[in-house]
């Protein structure tokens, strides 16, 4: 449960251009099993993620990247969230990415980067700690 007394609401999203859905599909199943509410979308432009996050009033945004497009897209999403004053939304990122890109994303305001091979239980536990 989130402080609002409702289940933690998570927007899971990935680019329509990226054919790798497996990570996000399995994360979605794990979060639902843990009682969280999951909104699952795909986007063409980063601003679509911000728009959905606002409309759905989510607690968390989880983004997945497996084809190296993450830096630019994450940066635009973080800027969009700031512009919409969505400072309370926790943004997490997962997928295949270079080690040296992780600190860059953290600097942009991403709360945590989960690499390939992460146990989904770790993601559940982390979100409960942060938003439960």
């Amino acid at each position: 449960m989130s402080p609002k007394g409702k289940p933690i609401k998570v927007l899971l999203s990935r680019s329509e251009l990226d054919c790798h859905q497996r990570g996000l599909i399995t994360i979605a199943a794990a979060l639902r099993d843990a009682g969280m509410e999951v909104v699952y979308t795909r986007f063409l432009l980063p601003e679509e993620v911000v728009k959905t996050a606002v409309e759905e009033d989510v607690d968390v945004i989880g983004l997945s990247f497996l084809a190296w497009s993450h830096l630019g897209i994450v940066s635009e999403i973080m800027d969009g969230l700031k512009a919409r004053k969505m400072n309370n939304v926790l943004v997490i990122v997962g997928g295949i990415m270079r080690d040296d890109h992780i600190p860059k994303m953290l600097e942009m305001g991403v709360a945590r980067v989960f690499g390939a091979g992460t146990n989904t239980a770790d993601v559940v536990e982390y979100l409960r700690k942060q938003k439960g």
Binding site: E16, Q21, T26, A29, A30, R42
Partner: protein, 561 residues
């Protein structure tokens, strides 16, 4: 298959074994399954294959070809090294590939090495470099290729009549082939001299969440494409049956075969409707299969696929041309079996999987670079993928004998089991209305996703062991990275200049003609028009997106949920 006397001896020995087993292990059961969840016994005997006829097992090069499509497997002609490496600008892709070729890349008999190129994700979905949707994707995990000018740079100095070209472009493959034809034409080479294949995977939304042509539109454009190619580009494979991707998305070996066979039946039936001869066009189909970490399952799967293919072509479609019943298998070692943790372990996984592919009778082989789970492969890791194959070929002896595991009670049983289960699942799909119905209902995707989730649970709980990831773990070490800077910027500038220099009126006229051709084909008024219209567009300097937008509009495009 065995005499009564022999079976009696088998039973006696079986009994003796059972007594010994009970003595040693106190009757405790040890249950194992294959990677795909097929339960296996602890030991196999002639009893497990007694129901098979020796005739069905045949010999390499003899129908039903499951022991191999040629009388010899590698002794006369080793498998082809089909390592893909494409990213950055066209000339960068070419340079990386030339370097890899110099490391001893083996091509098809008497031909230069295969040039396996592909576009980045935004381009494979038909977005030019300057589209805002493509921002951040240009030149990542594939080359940035917008125009005929880019293709000419890519093929500059490449003898297009001597090299097989693999066009890794998915739904933009028709446009890619049109570009290749025009590039060849400018080298003085006619389309009938071109050899290669398209990664045409029009069906891939079965298991993958990626926009594609609508199922109906995909059948229409591709039957048109197949007709054109069988008449004008006869040495080019028209559709690539990527069971590989079913596995990568989570599917098991049974689903991998049954799902793809359902799609094969759909397009084959569609081609028959327009009067094409299966004997001809089925010979230009090939499989792209995953070698996963379960060694015996991979070998058995490859053998089962060849047998199912041979039966399908002969029994269902009445093919009499042996070439149509012989299917070549391209293998890529499974990316999904690799781990980000302790990446050098992936070299071991790649070796096991490569060996399975070889013993299964592979035609062309791509050993995945060990760092694929981390990043775009470095030059060094790409070469190691090739070296894995070379060591197995020249040093290990695994390639000396054709179908070396034939006759193994376990391998023969598993081959038969996989074929049997896949045939049953295929029948179920047909009873549900076939490929198109199941596709539109999103049934395939649901099935694959369920398997993916079950796999994840198994890995998370530790029940499914992945060494270095959920067992024997240690601190992560950084790995070297590979990148080309400024690709997006340069690509956009080039595109802008290209558009400024062309005769726009002529380009737009070619696009209008393309639209008319596509509408006629889609509405069943004509066949064989799309490719000639695309070739005219390329000659008139149309860009990828300008052409693809027309195809999307006419044949339908999007995600099925």
């Amino acid at each position: 298959m065995f005499s009564k006397e022999l079976m009696k001896e088998v039973k006696e020995l079986d009994q003796k074994w059972l007594e010994e087993y009970k003595k040693y292990y106190d009757g405790k059961e040890f249950k194992k399954t294959t990677y795909s969840g097929i339960p296996v016994k602890t030991v196999y005997t002639p009893e497990d294959i007694a129901h098979l006829n020796y005739k069905d097992m045949a010999m390499p090069g003899i129908y039903p070809y499951f022991r191999g499509v040629y009388p010899l497997t590698y002794q006369a002609q080793p498998w082809v090294n089909q390592q893909a490496t494409a990213f950055g600008l066209p000339e960068q892709t070419k340079e990386r590939y030339s370097k890899l070729s110099q490391e001893g890349l083996a091509g098809y008999e008497g031909r230069e090495p295969v040039f396996f190129m592909g576009s980045d994700m935004s381009h494979t979905l038909g977005y030019d470099s300057d589209n805002p949707i493509a921002k951040g994707w240009v030149g990542m995990t594939g080359a940035a290729i917008d125009t005929i000018q880019d293709y000419e740079m890519l093929f500059d100095g490449v003898a297009l009549d001597k090299r097989n070209i693999t066009l890794g472009m998915f739904d933009t493959c028709h446009i890619a082939l049109a570009n290749l034809i025009v590039a060849a034409e400018r080298q003085g080479i006619s389309p009938d001299k071109l050899h290669g294949l398209t990664l045409n995977m029009f069906y891939r939304q079965m298991y993958m969440e990626i926009p594609t042509f609508s199922p109906r539109g995909a059948l229409r454009i591709n039957r048109d494409f197949i007709k054109y190619c069988s008449e004008h580009v006869p040495h080019f494979n028209t559709v690539n049956w990527a069971t590989y991707d079913v596995t990568e998305c989570g599917g098991n070996a049974i689903q991998e075969i049954a799902f793809i066979f359902a799609a094969i039946i759909a397009i084959t039936d569609e081609c028959i409707k327009i009067g094409l001869n299966p004997d001809k066009y089925l010979s230009r189909f090939a499989f792209h299969v995953a070698a996963h970490i379960d060694f015996f399952e991979v070998v058995a799967k490859m053998r089962a696929m060849r047998r199912m293919w041979a039966k399908l072509t002969k029994e269902r479609y009445g093919c009499t041309n042996p070439r149509a019943s012989k299917i070549n298998i391209n293998i890529k070692t499974a990316g999904v079996s690799y781990t980000r943790q302790q990446p050098l372990n992936n070299l071991i996984r790649g070796t096991i999987e490569t060996m399975a592919a070889i013993m299964g009778g592979v035609t062309s082989l791509w050993t995945t670079a060990y760092d694929e789970a981390l990043a775009i492969p470095t030059e060094q890791s790409a070469i190691l993928g090739l070296r894995t194959q070379q060591i197995l070929l020249y040093e290990s002896g695994v390639a000396s004998v054709s179908d070396p595991l034939a006759g193994s009670y376990y391998v023969e049983w598993l081959t038969d089991k996989i074929e049997d289960e896949a045939t049953k699942l295929l029948k179920r799909i047909e009873e549900m209305g076939g490929w198109m119905k199941c596709m539109e209902a999103g049934w395939f995707k649901k099935e694959v996703n369920r398997e993916a989730i079950a796999w994840r649970r198994g890995v998370d709980s530790g029940e499914r062991v992945m060494v270095g990831m959920n067992k024997f773990t240690k601190e992560q070490e950084p790995v070297p990275v590979f990148e080309y800077p400024d690709v997006e910027k340069i690509s956009i500038e080039r595109l802008k200049k290209f558009k400024a220099q062309r005769d726009t009126k002529k380009t737009m006229a070619s696009i209008a003609a393309l639209k008319k051709a596509c509408v006629d084909v889609n509405e069943d008024r004509a066949v064989g028009l799309v490719m000639p219209a695309l070739i005219e567009c390329v000659r008139a300097n149309a860009t990828l997106q300008e052409m693809m937008d027309v195809l999307k509009e006419v044949f339908g495009w999007g995600l099925i949920d």
